[in-house]
């Protein structure tokens, strides 16, 4: 399973080391997040070895959510070596996320 669940303690090291990463900020009381979850899981499998796909539970990691200014979930943040270059807020078709990854592989 390529999908990683990140915490404050390992977030920076993991994301900084990844040339391309997609991080899904979510919580288990959020329906739209549950909807994006299967897309994120599939993308994690499809992009295994090409991009880091990770999830951050904002209930467990409120500081990370605050650090990224997450104001609505799901929020998917795209980063290159830890630097954010794009984000998508809300439910979108999976192609929206894969096209951002494909353009930046």
């Amino acid at each position: 399973m390529a999908l990683k669940h990140l915490k404050k303690t390992d977030f920076a090291a993991t994301v900084d080391a990844a040339p391309l990463a997609m991080v899904d900020f979510w919580a288990d009381w959020c329906g739209p997040c549950k909807m994006v979850a299967p897309f994120v899981e599939k993308i994690a499998d499809d992009y295994d070895g090409k991009a880091l796909v990770a999830k951050v539970n904002i209930d467990e990691e409120p500081e990370l959510a605050q650090q990224f200014g997450v104001m609505s979930i799901p929020t998917l943040v795209f980063l290159k070596n830890g630097r954010e270059f794009d984000r998508k807020v809300g439910v979108m078709p999976p192609e929206t996320f894969t096209s951002v990854l494909d353009e930046n592989l």
Binding site: G31, P32, M71, V91, M92
Partner: protein
């Protein structure tokens, strides 16, 4: 369990679609607000529904819902918030849950409210349509709720319970939401509230917010003779497709949409 068809809306169009989906041997889940919040509920006399002159809207809705229940239609109270399509399945979020279905009948009626200035621009930056989704992000902070139903009051209560400082606006007509990059204030009918978030809780999501890419003409959902929209497995019926906004038209379109949805599910199975 997962259902064959999700019907969004529990009025005459949605219920008619649902019983016809059941008649074709498919399972159907109707997502709707409480029956009493349907605009037809308040109608004192429906004069032109064939065979039942002078029936009240409440009587008609009650009878229709009983009929659907007797036919094995399942019900879920709530509001569809977002939808996405992947690998021949629709994923539709309702409150804090997700329904995974093969086809959808959109029969959510008409949304009369226009978007407010600032609403689209600040969506996801403090503007939210879902208190249970985003409320936790605003704990201990001031928020406004623009409520358009009884259900919205419950959602405002939920926000209070989790610690938000809630300013409730009851069915405001003219609001302006403003802020630099994020919500800073909302002005409704001359009253300004300094808030970090604005929850806009209308009875239903606008069809194009729910299904991006849905064809719209003169404010109504475009559907063909089979009640098919341009999106795979999405059918529409009732007031959302245009006038006349009457029960008989809604029930008739629901019948066609239900049959079309069932035929689509059969075709998927043969694929």
């Amino acid at each position: 369990m997962s259902f064959d068809v999700l019907v969004i809306g529990g009025g005459p169009a949605g219920l008619s679609a649902a019983i016809n989906i059941r008649a074709r041997g498919k399972s159907a889940l109707v997502v709707s607000n409480p029956l009493e919040e349907n605009p037809l509920w308040k109608s004192e006399r429906v004069e032109n529904y064939l065979g039942l002159p002078g029936v009240t809207g409440a009587e008609l809705l009650t009878a229709m819902q009983k009929h659907a229940e007797a036919d094995g239609v399942e019900f879920l109270a709530g509001k569809a918030l977002s939808a996405a399509f992947m690998l021949d399945k629709w994923y539709v979020s309702v409150g804090s849950d997700v329904q995974e279905v093969k086809a959808v009948v959109l029969a959510a009626g008409v949304t009369r409210e226009k978007k407010f200035p600032g609403e689209a621009e600040l969506l996801g930056r403090g503007v939210s349509y879902c208190a249970t989704c985003d409320g936790m992000l605003y704990r201990d902070r001031p928020v406004a709720v623009l409520g358009y139903s009884e259900t919205a009051r419950h959602e405002a209560e939920f926000l209070r319970e989790i610690g938000c400082e809630v300013k409730y606006f009851d069915r405001p007509r003219d609001c302006v939401i403003s802020g630099e990059g994020m919500v800073e204030q909302v002005l409704c009918g001359g009253e300004t509230a300094k808030v970090d978030a604005v929850f806009i809780l209308r009875p239903a999501m606008a069809p194009t917010d729910l299904f991006p890419g849905l064809g719209i003409e003169n404010g109504y959902v475009q559907a063909d003779r089979r009640m098919a929209t341009g999106l795979p497995g999405v059918f529409a019926a009732g007031d959302c497709t245009g006038g006349p906004l009457q029960v008989a038209k809604a029930a008739g379109e629901g019948l066609i949409a239900g049959q079309s949805a069932a035929a689509y599910v059969d075709a998927l199975a043969r694929k």
